[in-house]
């Protein structure tokens, strides 16, 4: 037990407890941690917990079991930190945070500038209600963006599909950001500081590009812009 205990580090942070599980395979870590929780249930009762799982690659099955086990014991798992992109994606899919605190807006701007111009996050659609994409650079969605979904991008947003959710392009103030969609019927569209709602109930069923012109948010059909 002493051996496994040394694999578990518990630290108090502003948002609850940060628990680092590292140095062994996941099943062993998970068992040791749950056992530890059971032994000190009064300490853990009602806790908000962020797990740092190091380089462990966790799939939905593993992570959701851990979440459920903790929730059975009255513990809320709200974040999972990991060096593994696989684990990060899993955590995001399960609606868990992957960072302890939101980056400061100022830091965001710096990273946006530091990103190469062609940096883009690829999102395989459809992006459904409740889905949220937050990225400092450009965002490309292959598929529909449904009502209730939200994209916040530091750069431009391209939707290869119907855009019916909320999109904020140039979220750090980039007025040159554009939003393109095969069908443009957003619930709300924001570019930099400007906000617009879709004026038409029915879509025109044609690709459109939205941008800022003299401080006004305008959407134009793609074929007009290209002259075809």
């Amino acid at each position: 037990m002493d051996e496994t205990l040394s694999l578990i580090q518990i630290k108090g942070i502003r948002d609850g407890l940060l628990i680092t599980l590292d140095g062994a395979a996941w099943p062993e870590l998970a068992t040791a941690f749950v056992k530890n929780v059971d032994e000190r249930s009064s300490f853990f009762q009602g806790a908000r917990v962020a797990l740092n799982v190091g380089a462990n690659e966790l799939r939905v099955a593993e992570l959701s079991v851990m979440r459920d086990q903790l929730s059975e014991r009255g513990i809320t798992l709200w974040a999972v930190l990991s060096e593994s992109p696989v684990t990060e994606t899993t955590a995001q899919n399960l609606g868990l945070a992957t960072r302890l605190s939101k980056p400061h807006p100022h830091d965001l701007r710096e990273t946006a500038e530091a990103l190469p111009e062609d940096a883009a996050k690829w999102v395989k659609g459809p992006l459904r209600s409740g889905g949220k994409v937050l990225y400092d650079g450009n965002v490309v969605v292959i598929g529909d963006v449904n009502p209730g979904a939200e994209i916040v991008a530091g750069g431009s947003v391209i939707v290869w599909g119907r855009l019916r959710g909320v999109v904020h392009a140039g979220a750090q103030g980039d007025e040159k950001a554009v939003v393109c969609a095969l069908e443009m019927v957003p619930t709300q569209l924001r570019i930099a500081g400007e906000i617009a709602v879709s004026p038409k109930k029915q879509s025109k069923n044609q690709p459109e590009v939205a941008c800022l012109k003299d401080g006004q948010l305008v959407a134009e059909p793609w074929h007009k812009l290209t002259g075809r």
Partner: protein, 261 residues
Amino acid sequence: MTAQVVTVASGKGGVGKTTSVANIAVALASCGKRVTCIDGDIGLRNLDVVLGLENRIVYDLVDVIEGRCRLRQAMIRDKRLPDLYLIPAAQTRDKTAISPSDMVRLCDELRQEVDWIIIDSPAGIERGFKNAIAAADRVLVMTNPEVSAVRDADRVIGLLDAEEKGPAALVINRLDPAMVKRGDMLSVEDVLDLLAIELIGIIPEDENVIVASNRGQPLALDGKSKAGKAFQNIARRLMGEQVPFVALESQNLLQRLLGRK
């Protein structure tokens, strides 16, 4: 043979999950399958009422989970269909009384005894929903042809994808072909267009459903009504049969008649 676990979920309340679970279960049992339905709506149980088994509850789901009775003791056998059982929800507890892993264990125990396990999920996307989908092999997402219900169905489909419980199949309930015709209701195509998942059933608006629910006599027992027929078709599709869609047919007929004028 081990059972298939099917969960009916919707996100939004009042779209017809419980009625559908009752009717799909009845339809499967009428085909000679052994069926157990589980009411996952702990604290707000309804499925027993719709099935007309309310007065026979002795033990419930939470009693099984907490070991106060054996699984068999909580299974209420339907008098009309001897292969249909109900495990009712507890009314005096809440969703936190059981956990997703409890549901998985329970269903694993049941799988050997029946052909189909149909779970009625509560509305919402919290603990009760997670309990209901934990053991599911398939999830039927229920919606009405209205914007708010479709929005919630969309959210639920997203959550099912994230939990790797997809792909879900869609049931559109309370469709009124006349209203669709007038352009006052979302059409099947509108809903499918947004949700982009496989369609497994369309249930037409039918006031017999309310009468049947109040009497505890699910429509699918006789299947003379349009809705009863639609539920039977869902059951047949679940069993792998290719069945054409009823409501779509009647719509086409209407169009054909109007076209001739």
